[in-house]
Amino acid sequence: MDLLAKSSPNRIGDRRKRLIPLVSLIVIVVLVGLAASQGAIVMQRRVILALIYLVAVVGLYIFVGNSGVLSFASSAFMAIGAYTTAIVTMAPNMKSTFLPDLPAFLAIQHMPPLAGIMLGGFMAALIAAVIGAPLMRLSGISAGIATLSLMVIVYIVFGNWDSVTGGQRSLMGLVGYVKLPQATLFAIGAIVIAFIYQESRGALMLRASREDPVAAAASGIRITRHRWIAFVLSAFVTGIAGALFAHLQGTVRIESFYLSLTFLLLAMLIVGGSQSLAGAVMGALALSLLGEILRQLERGVPILQFDLKIPGGLGDIVMALCLLLILMFRPLGLAGGRELTFSRNRTSGDNG
């Protein structure tokens, strides 16, 4: 039985069948959440982090997967989400300690975490909407470089905007709102948003433009506009991931949102396969799992009478090696550009 079918949501097809990929992914996430709930607290924390990465990778997928344009801006949008929720949810007395120069209208805010998280998503989307307007006219490598610059700019601004972000100092005292149930629900939410979007007519047009820009323009598709929509939605989901991250750690520091985070998220998307939602989900979970296994091995795991221990730093090398192997032997990623469907084939089109 072919579990994977070509990612090509058929708008005029059987409605029930079209929901199978979505339901499959939700089931996977719920199973991960349930399994983790039986584990120790430390393990739960690792799984929560994996689910937050999943939200961020799904956010990245919404733009990269549908438009085919690479984006390095993930950690910028996560930083925006994280700082937004920190500033509006921290207790006023904490803020007067960490951010004595904060403008008054922000200093008096004391929102519940959920509101802060949503606001974090909206702020990221707002900034993406403004910056995306000129950015989405670019294509290919220049668009990628522009998003990289965006990430660097956000990093530098947030790292020096002492009155609002505290600059290089950490912000502390955020509510530890994100537990396993919340992380699972947000992961499901991100998957649902990405799925609804990818089934939309606009996303179909965007994927068509990814495949053949000439034919897309000839069909009257407004590529720039649809890219922009995907970029803003992507920033919203990614911003929420950043806010969740802040409410998991309880602290926010700008160093967390830089190159290593962006590249980790991109690696997850590429390993899973950037052309399907299943790929984004599988990549986030697979690399989180691999990272965890390697981390344990670096610490040492007793197996029978041996103590299996790999030298420190080898984990990173193995991780890089995995990425390389995927790129060489499965360039479309683990999911191979397909969604989970559990059906035999797609009528006459199964030869693709």
Binding site: S8, A217, A218, S219
Partner: protein, 243 residues
């Protein structure tokens, strides 16, 4: 017949290279116009300039009453200009049905568009049979039919075809030209670009010969005379003339 497209003094320049120079061209409603010429004559540059795909154009273009310069390609589609680009640009990773659906992106009347898609699938049984199959798996001729059908779904007033018979078997080319006749019956104007003349002469009301970026000869097919002799005179390809 009133003018649909009016091109005046159109030039296209790619850096130092002058692709076409001071071209005047008028297409009336319901007219089939053929543009022929050898490789590098500037045929594709001309249709792409009309479709809005090239920069560096100068001159005047009017479609019905709208000036075209400065209008983006995707918005020219909305005005009623559809180009079938050279080389059969199907969305190969998408199904036949999705390809047709993507052709109707500019339409507001989606119910009507869906109905038309079903009609096309009946009109082209081969596409109907493979409606859920990937467009990339179709043969060259089938892809050409699909691309033309996709362009027609945008409800164009002017359909431009850039070398529609390139790389197709003669029998398949016949089908493509049957399709062009069918398009004309719908009252849609056609601008067809070809290197070979014979088939163009069968369908065209007006023929323009493009050479080195300029229109070197214009007229009805009858005025152009016998196709073979014409070809020989202009391209030096016919065996009987060669010494």
């Amino acid at each position: 017949m009133s003018d649909l497209l009016n091109v005046q003094n159109l030039s296209v320049r790619y850096g130092a290279i002058q692709a076409i120079e001071n071209i005047d061209l008028t297409i009336s409603e319901g007219q089939v116009v053929a543009l022929i010429g050898p490789n590098g004559a500037g045929k594709s540059s001309l249709v792409n300039a009309i479709a809005g795909n090239v920069r560096g154009t100068s001159g005047d273009m009017t479609f019905l009453t709208s000036p075209l310069l400065g209008v983006k390609p995707e918005d020219r589609v909305r005005l009623g200009i559809s180009l079938v680009p050279e080389g059969r640009h199907v969305f190969s990773g998408f199904s036949v049905l999705e390809n047709l659906w993507l052709g109707a992106t500019t339409r507001k009347d989606r119910v009507q568009a869906r109905q038309e898609i079903e009609e096309f699938l009946e009109l082209f049984p081969i596409l109907g049979k493979r409606r859920d199959g990937l467009a990339g798996m179709l043969s060259g001729g089938e892809q050409q039919q699909l691309v033309i059908a996709r362009a027609l779904l945008a409800k164009p007033k002017l359909l431009m075809l850039d070398e529609p018979s390139l790389g197709l078997a003669p029998l398949v080319v016949d089908q493509v030209y049957d399709l062009i006749r069918d398009v004309r019956k719908r009252g849609i104007s056609v601008l067809v670009v070809e290197q070979s003349t014979a088939r163009c002469f069968e369908v065209a009301d007006q023929v323009h010969v493009l050479n080195h970026g300029k229109i070197s000869m214009s007229g009805t097919p009858a005025e152009m005379g016998d196709a073979a002799r014409f070809e020989a005179a202009y391209f030096g390809v016919s065996g009987e003339i060669r010494t």
